[in-house]
């Protein structure tokens, strides 16, 4: 049963669209193709799709912009990228936007079908009605592939567990047990050893963070300037404690041991933006910027 899923292929090369269409249609998928991201946005405003294959480098509107649009307007649509340049950077950008997988150009029919099948089954699982219990969130295949790539890149280097964990946390956003196990296996270590490292260093987190991560500096200079009051205000406003995520997953709150910006104390950092000379009154306006 594949025909109830609608797939859209976006690429500026007609040959890619034609080959995708013929390969996928032969397997019974419902496929449409478009030559630009702009057309894709217009089409998607009219009708929803379940899965979108998109090129990254396209004239006018590029793939990343399209993915951003989809994430905002059609969050249920799964995205797979087709790219001739599977470089770390572009993939990283796309991964951060939550793509399911990628197809390297040029591709064979088997590769395309493989990726499609994986993406479709992943979408189906997501669409399946949630169990009353909390459903275990599975990582998209693209993330797992990236994790494996990082592991193989570092495997031969001694003492690479910390860099690998740092990179994987960048990819996934946090380090759930399944990722730790995968890394342990890849680096030929025990899961206990990996967990020991994850739990030792404050940089690593086993909980997913919110869209925006708020970090409050608890260094001496900030303490003397009563950062405590700022922290309490944020806790009150967001109704979360340190180490928690708001219900809408917008914000997570952490404390750090001195950001080394003591001249600006008290200091708060949201994502990469630093806010100095904080006081409780400034909190609501700053949070509004991210809402």
């Amino acid at each position: 049963m594949v025909d109830d899923l609608k797939i859209l292929v976006v690429d500026d090369e007609p040959i890619i669209i034609r080959s995708c269409e013929s390969i996928l249609k032969s397997e019974g998928y419902n496929v449409q193709g478009l030559l630009s991201a702009k057309d894709a946005i217009l089409r998607m405003e009219q009708q929803p799709f379940d899965l979108v294959f998109t090129d990254l480098k396209m004239p006018e509107v590029d793939g990343i912009t399209l993915i951003r649009w989809i994430r905002q307007k059609r969050p249920d649509t799964g995205v797979v990228i087709i790219t001739g340049y599977p470089s770390q950077d572009t993939i990283k950008d796309a991964l951060e936007l939550g793509i399911i997988d990628y197809v390297p150009k040029p591709f064979t029919p088997t590769v395309l079908l493989d990726v499609t099948q994986r993406a479709v089954s992943w979408i189906r699982e997501k669409k399946a009605p949630l169990e009353p219990k909390e459903k275990k969130e599975e990582l998209p295949p693209s993330m797992l592939q990236e994790i494996d790539r990082v592991i193989s890149q570092y495997r031969s280097k001694p003492g690479s567990s910390i860099p690998v964990l740092q990179r994987c946390q960048q990819i996934v956003g946090y380090l759930p047990p399944e990722v730790q196990k995968r890394i342990a296996k890849g680096l030929n270590m025990t899961p206990a050893e990996i967990h020991g490292i994850v739990s030792f260093y404050s940089f690593f987190t086993m909980k997913p963070r919110g869209d925006h991560n708020i970090r409050i500096c608890l260094g001496t200079a900030c303490y003397v300037k009563r950062v405590e009051e700022v922290l309490n205000r944020i806790k009150e406003d967001l109704k979360i404690d340190v180490g928690e995520v708001t219900e809408d997953k917008k914000f997570s709150l952490e404390t750090v041991r001195c950001l080394g910006a003591c001249g600006l104390a008290p200091v708060m950092v949201i994502d990469e933006e630093t806010y100095g000379a904080m006081n409780p009154k400034k909190v609501p306006d700053i949070l509004k910027e991210y809402a």
Binding site: G159, Q166, I197, T220, C258, C262, G263
Partner: protein, 611 residues
């Protein structure tokens, strides 16, 4: 190279960037273009200038005019006045608080006047991303000299003679450390740099790495040559992304230009350098723990000996130097040990960088000759208290391993020996100034919270000792202190110091001991009178309005979140104790100092004891 009339050295350190450098820079650039000056006046983004409190700051070079607190709106005026009419734009110049007259030249501003820049020699002067600009200021001359004209023994002798001591905290003589490692025989040795600046309140290493990354690399090349190492690692905190970026760029440039890699300067010496990102653990500032961390394990210290000079990273002889120490190396090699000793004292030679923060006017980084009186740093360079009405209470030095120095000792010269005598330590150079509104018991508690949390848990005295002490301090701050608690705390401190494995535990009780030593009366009034005189511990204070001082202005009345203050115009206000939650808002709001802090016990009585 393009020729320009004037360089505008704009600070792009973390502090100034957060204060608005990017926007101001864009506005300034636009204005320069509009006036047709963009070809002859060039904006350069530099590393941290050090005067963080006045940011965004800019130095006009070569005139040496210093602008501060720049805003987007002022840029058209600034360009017109300074660059068209040729006179400094007074509104953005630094002004002496009392005298009100503007000081245009950077070198005459008190904050800069007393400083001697050796470590920070390039701060705010060069583009940190440019190898060429570093070389233009004698960069890599020392490395060339060390590699082509000196033997390892010569290098070690100069560094030893200079009297340079490790700037990371303990103050171990650098030359001696190098000598030990150079004498170890092994197929591989490691030259390591500790950029895991963990002391809260210290940010000089960050500043050096961000403003002058090459100075660290050059120090490492020279050190590596001295000990015979071909591999180096810079261990940097993950919290310092900009420092990592700048160091990486610097390393890449060096590789490209042959300053790192094989056969440096045709001397046959090879040295490779990489960055290792720390993952956030204070204990990794300890050398054996840091090495474990690079090996990809939990960063826990191990007993010494064997010392890292014999068995360090991967069990090979290793030297670990602090960022600031390494940045001192190249001037020493270039100008000699005698030159280095012209500043400082017999046992504490040269200069030291301090991070001046807290309740002080001029917050920022300062580099001074050692032996300078503490008072000069706080009052002349630091400009005294931020809030002139408040009295100086104490300055905390050495972070969680250090102690609080009280008013009575403020004349001491700042050297390793003199600071240790007070119960504090030089540490990495954090100086947090506290005014009379600080509760010293809470401050001690703050540091113990830190060490108890960061204790790695390997040795019992540190893991359990810090926790027990923290619980006692928490009790005292909540009004549950008992007679004899102070003595138990002192006993406990001595035990933890004597029996802990590494520097973290051995110094963790210092903040407690030093505050008990100088502010014992505060501990006693917390325990016996249930009175936190600074009004910080909520359970141990009450607020009262002194009717003689109250101007009945209504400011506190409006600010009180509990509506616990009553009064009307021309009638002195009064706080209803039953409603008061001791939030201090009225105390901070009152401009006349009419709010007084009394003991908690008063609250139970119907009428406040104050008149």
């Amino acid at each position: 190279m393009e020729k320009v009339r004037t360089n505008l050295l704009m600070c792009a350190g973390t502090g100034c960037v957060a204060s608005g450098t990017p926007k101001v820079r864009a506005a300034l650039q636009e204005e320069l273009e509009k006036r047709g000056l963009a070809d002859e006046i060039k904006i350069v983004l530099t590393g941290c200038n050090g005067f963080c409190a006045e940011g965004p700051v800019m130095l006009v070079y070569p005139e040496g005019i210093f602008y501060q607190k720049m805003t987007v709106d002022e840029m058209p005026k600034l360009v017109e006045e300074h660059f068209l009419k040729g006179r400094p734009y007074e509104k953005l110049l630094y002004k002496e608080p009392e005298k009100k007259h503007a000081i245009p030249a950077m070198n005459e501003i008190p904050f800069f006047k007393h400083q001697v820049l050796r470590v920070l020699r390039n701060k705010g002067m060069i583009d940190p991303d440019s190898l060429e600009e570093y070389i233009a200021r004698d960069g890599y001359m020392a490395a060339a000299k060390a590699l082509t004209e000196m033997t390892p023994a010569d290098i070690i002798k100069v560094v030893k003679d200079s009297g340079l001591r490790g700037r990371g905290g303990a103050g171990f003589p650098t030359g001696l450390k190098w000598e030990f490692a150079s004498k170890s025989v092994a197929d591989q040795k490691y030259m390591l740099c500790n950029g895991d600046e963990g002391d809260p309140g210290a940010f000089m290493d960050r500043s050096v790495m961000e403003a002058d990354p090459h100075s660290v690399i050059e120090g490492m090349i020279i050190g590596a040559r001295a000990i015979g190492s071909s591999k180096g690692v810079i261990y940097v905190r993950a919290e310092y992304p900009l420092a990592v970026k700048r160091l990486q760029k610097a390393i890449n440039d060096c590789h490209e230009k042959g300053l790192l890699g094989e056969d440096i300067f045709g001397s046959g010496f090879a040295f490779d350098l990489e960055i290792y990102l720390g993952a956030g653990a204070f204990v990794c500032g300890e050398e054996t723990a840091l090495m474990r961390s690079i090996e990809g394990k939990r960063g826990m210290p191990r007993p010494r000996p064997p010392f890292p000079a014999h068995k360090g990273l991967w069990d090979k002889p290793s030297v670990l130097n602090n960022v600031e120490t390494l940045a001192q190396i190249s001037p020493i090699i270039l100008h000699g040990a005698e030159w280095y000793r012209t500043l400082g004292t017999e046992k504490s030679a040269g200069t030291k960088v301090f991070a001046l923060t807290g309740d002080i006017k001029n917050v920022g980084l300062v580099e001074v000759p050692m032996g300078i009186p503490l008072k000069t740093i706080i009052y002349d360079i630091g400009g005294g208290m931020k809030n002139k009405k408040k009295k100086f209470k104490s300055v905390q030095m050495g972070g969680p391993s250090g102690g609080c120095i009280p008013m009575g000792l403020i004349e001491i010269p700042v050297t390793y020996e003199d600071v240790v005598k007070t119960g504090a330590i030089m540490g990495s150079g954090g100086m947090v100034v506290m005014d009379e509104d600080t509760c010293m018991v809470s401050t001690a508690k703050f540091f113990l919270e830190f060490t108890a949390d960061e204790s790695c848990g390997k040795c019992t005295p540190c893991r359990i000792g810090t926790r027990v002490m923290l619980d006692m301090l928490t009790d005292i701050c909540e009004g549950k202190g008992k007679d004899g608690d102070i003595e138990i705390l002192e006993d406990f401190s001595r035990d933890v110091i004597a029996t802990s494995l590494c520097g973290l535990g051995q110094t963790a009780p210092n903040p407690v001991l030093s505050t008990i030593r100088y502010f014992r009366d505060e501990y006693e009034s917390h325990i016996k009178d249930h009175w936190c005189k600074a009004g910080i511990c909520r359970n141990l204070c009450s607020f009262h309005i002194n009717e003689e001082l109250c101007k009945a202005c209504g400011a506190c009345l409006r600010a009180c979140p509990q509506k616990a203050i009553v009064g009307e115009k021309k009638v002195p206000h009064r706080i209803i104790q039953e409603l008061c939650i001791q939030c201090r808002t009225c105390y901070d709001t009152c401009k006349f100092g009419s709010i007084e802090i009394g003991p908690a016990a008063v609250k139970e009585k119907k009428e406040p004891a104050m008149k």
